[in-house]
């Protein structure tokens, strides 16, 4: 029996529909597989990128840690050096070496005390402030 409109036999029609069903199944499988592979690819890539970033940060951390360690060592060294330089035996040895002739403070050295207000100007004693503009806290003999 032949279909008058398409001029195809029943057998042909059946074969064609079977083939198209097979094709559509194949396509959907390929699509599914591609999607799956794409997902896997994405996941693996994401993981690689993430790992790379983590390693990069890790290296950065290690570098910073080492820098901090170096700075700490430098600070410790400077701290000890500062203590060494600010100790009285060292200062007195320098005074002697350069013959600075420093003497201990004596209250009688002070000739006039100028009191400063909050802004650093002498408040009550304007005249004195003018007189002792250079040495604002105390004049010495």
């Amino acid at each position: 029996m032949t279909n008058v409109r398409t001029m195809r036999t029943q057998e042909e029609i059946r074969r064609s529909s079977r083939a198209s069903a097979k094709r559509s199944w194949m396509v959907s499988l390929v699509i599914k597989l591609s999607f799956m592979f794409a997902l896997i690819f994405l996941a693996v890539n994401a993981r690689i990128i993430y790992n790379q970033k983590a390693e990069q940060i890790n290296r950065e951390i290690a570098r910073t840690k080492s820098k901090i360690h170096q700075l700490n060592r430098e600070i410790a060294n400077l701290k000890v050096r500062k203590e060494q330089l600010s100790s009285w035996p060292y200062i007195s040895s320098r005074i002697n070496m350069f013959k600075l002739g420093l003497r201990p403070a004596d209250s009688k050295q002070i000739r006039k005390i100028v009191l400063l207000d909050v802004d650093g100007h002498s408040g009550a004693m304007n005249g004195t402030a003018e007189l002792y503009r250079e040495n604002r806290t105390a004049g010495t003999d």
Partner: protein
């Protein structure tokens, strides 16, 4: 058909071969993964696992205000790997460079670089040769030098040279407080505390070692997803002392001048707060620089202030008199016959250096009469005297954190002989440590309250910042009569006043309460006539003391008396300290000088007027008032020779 059969055979052969190959691979996999798993896994782990030890930081020592006294300074060990050092020419070049930079012998560096093999013997006696990969060229190289060297070796491409970071114990103030601080040694990379506070607080200051284990990448960095474990290292606790560095510096500087002037065998000075017992400054000579191991002589190591004992001599008298006053046995006005300087008791003579007649108790202290003090003690009786001395801490340790600490030499009452009651009050037959005497004087200064001497103020945990304060102990006064304190202070003030034995210890503007001590040394079973211990102990300002100060000289030259030897040093240390502490003077010294000058002028005026009156009455000019003749000091340093013998001027005023 034939073709098919041939193909089948080939297929079988190939299959068998493949099967064998797969079998071999399977076997290998089994061997690697299962049979030798543990061994190979261990090897692999060793290759990619790094184990790092972290030593932590040993606790530091600071003064009261946080000035560093003992710290850890970073430094580096300069090391080399001889296996990659290259040939003799290259080794010579590197050795020359390192020797120049590190100031060491070129030959020794060259030898180290050329020593490329380690030969060991196996248990079966065969030789085993390994490559030497590590030698230390120079240990503990200063941070700055090592850093400079690092850059230079990198620039020159000396890959054989590498650096091992480390720290060393450092004493930035050098010999300042050296004996009290002590020092540490290194024994196979382990810190061993030897003496002083370093030893006493070793368990607190010792750091706890940390351990980090991680899997690393090819370049040595830790893997982000690798296995890792970590045991944190812990820094040791920091110790804060009661010492005040600026005052300590004053004390040490003055003690150095003192050593220069009197060249004693040894000298020490201790300053303490009489109310809290805090030791503000303490120094001894001889001493050492803990950074320079060559200067460390065993006799300089000893902590003399805690370990040494000496007979205090007359510095003991105020303690005895205070006890007698407190018990109402004597008053400051009670009179005693001082027998013109010679008195026999118990079959033995007792002498005074300045013969005196009848003296009040105050004058006994002022003139330091041995006979007078012995008579006061006799009035007290043995039991009371023993009670008094023990209440001032004689014979008991101060408990300061320095080991060993002596308890001094003080016999129990049942072992006293007839002479003990006359000798102990004048500081003979009794030996105390400098710290014990300072503690006794703290009690005299603070109104009789026993104090526990403190050297450590607080201990800090650097990780948390939590501080543990050392407790202050408060005790009731040993004086039953509240006026005792004032009475004994008034007496002690006279010592540094006009007519006292220590005018040299007086400070302009301040009242100084103190007592001199001059003790003969006990040598070979007898008191030496040549060897003395001179000391002075006192407190300033007398009525509201800021500190107690003791200065001791063992066998001084150029003087023997506490007043002349230790007094001036006491004065300079105390004066500088008072200025540093900004202590208000007790009186205006200038105004007082002015008053005295005016009084003198007035007196002279009166005398002149009397002469005038006399002149007008008799019509005769009276002879002028004889002024004291003054003998001028000879030129030079006061030494001169007559007939080859050396003489020296002692006094310059002819009376």
């Amino acid at each position: 058909m034939t073709k098919f059969t041939q193909m089948g055979r080939r297929m079988i052969v190939v299959t068998v071969i493949l099967l064998l190959l797969f079998g071999y691979i399977g076997w290998q996999l089994y061997t690697v993964q299962i049979r030798r798993h543990d061994e190979l896994y261990k090897k692999a782990r060793m290759k990619y696992t790094t184990v790092k030890t972290m030593n932590g930081k040993r606790g530091e020592i600071y003064d009261y205000s946080g000035n560093l006294l003992v710290g850890n300074i970073p430094c580096s060990d300069v090391c080399a790997d001889p296996s990659i050092a290259g040939d003799a020419k290259r080794c010579r070049e590197i050795a020359k460079f390192l020797a120049e930079k590190l100031e060491i012998s070129e030959e020794s560096v060259y030898e180290k670089l050329m020593d490329k093999e380690i030969v060991t013997r196996n248990p079966d006696g065969t030789k085993k040769v390994r490559q030497r990969k590590f030698v230390i060229i120079k240990g503990k190289v200063d941070y700055e030098i090592a850093e400079r060297l690092k850059l230079e070796t990198a620039r020159l491409g000396y890959k054989t040279v590498f650096y091992r970071e480390t720290t060393k114990r450092y004493y930035p103030k050098k010999q300042l407080l050296a004996n009290v601080l002590g020092f540490t040694n290194l024994d196979r990379d382990q810190v061993v505390a030897v003496i002083g506070l370093e030893k006493f607080y070793d368990n607190k200051m010792r750091s706890v070692q940390g351990l980090e284990r991680y899997e690393r990448s090819r370049d040595g960095l830790p893997l982000a997803y690798g296995n890792s474990s970590m045991k944190e290292d812990k820094d040791g606790f920091n110790v804060y002392l009661t010492i005040q560095e600026p005052i300590q510096a004053i004390l040490e500087e003055e003690l150095d001048k003192f050593m220069e002037r009197f060249t004693p065998k040894s000298a020490y000075a201790v300053m303490a707060d009489p109310y809290t017992g805090d030791i503000i400054a303490v120094a001894q000579r001889p001493t050492f620089d803990p950074n320079d191991r060559n200067s460390m002589k065993p006799n300089a190591w000893r902590n003399r202030i805690a370990e040494d004992t000496f007979e205090p001599g007359s510095t003991m008298k105020p303690l005895v008199v205070a006890g007698a006053l407190d018990r109402g046995i004597v008053t400051p006005e009670t009179r005693f016959d001082c027998e013109k300087g010679l008195w026999f008791y118990g079959g033995k003579s007792l002498k005074d250096s300045h013969p005196m007649g009848i003296l009040t108790v105050s004058e006994i202290i002022q003139h330091s009469s041995n006979i007078g003090t012995a008579k006061i003690a006799l009035a007290m009786g043995e039991k009371t005297l023993d009670e008094v001395l023990r209440s001032f801490g004689i014979g008991s340790r101060t408990g300061i954190p320095l080991k060993p600490e002596t308890a001094g030499i003080y016999r129990p009452l049942k072992l006293w002989d007839t002479l003990s009651i006359t000798r102990f009050p004048i500081g003979q037959g009794v030996a105390v440590s400098p710290l014990q005497l300072v503690r006794g004087y703290c009690m005299l200064a603070n109104g009789g309250h026993p104090v526990k001497l403190r050297l450590v103020d607080r201990i800090e945990n650097p990780a948390t910042g939590i501080e543990q304060k050392m407790p202050l102990e408060k005790h009731d006064s040993i004086f039953k009569d509240p006026s005792t304190h004032k009475k004994i202070v008034e007496m002690m003030k006279t010592v540094t006043g006009q007519g006292g034995t220590a005018k040299t210890a007086a400070i302009r503007g301040y009242y100084v309460a103190g007592k001199t001590g001059t003790a003969q040394k006990f040598v070979d079973g007898a008191y030496s006539r040549k060897k003395y211990i001179a000391n002075f102990a006192g407190f300033v300002p007398a009525d509201n003391p800021r500190f107690v100060l003791l200065v001791v000289a063992d066998e001084p030259n150029g003087g023997i008396y506490g007043g002349t030897v230790a007094g001036p040093t006491f004065q300079t240390i105390a004066e500088r300290t008072l200025k540093y502490l900004n202590v208000k003077p007790d009186y205006d010294a200038d105004a007082r000088d002015q008053e005295q000058k005016l009084a003198k002028k007035k007196k002279l005026e009166e005398m002149r007027r009397e002469r005038e009156i006399e002149k007008t009455r008799n019509g005769v000019i009276p002879a002028p008032v004889q002024r004291k003749a003054r003998v001028s000091r000879p030129a030079g340093n006061g030494k001169y020779k007559i007939n080859g013998r050396k003489y020296r001027y002692i006094t310059f005023t002819k009376r």
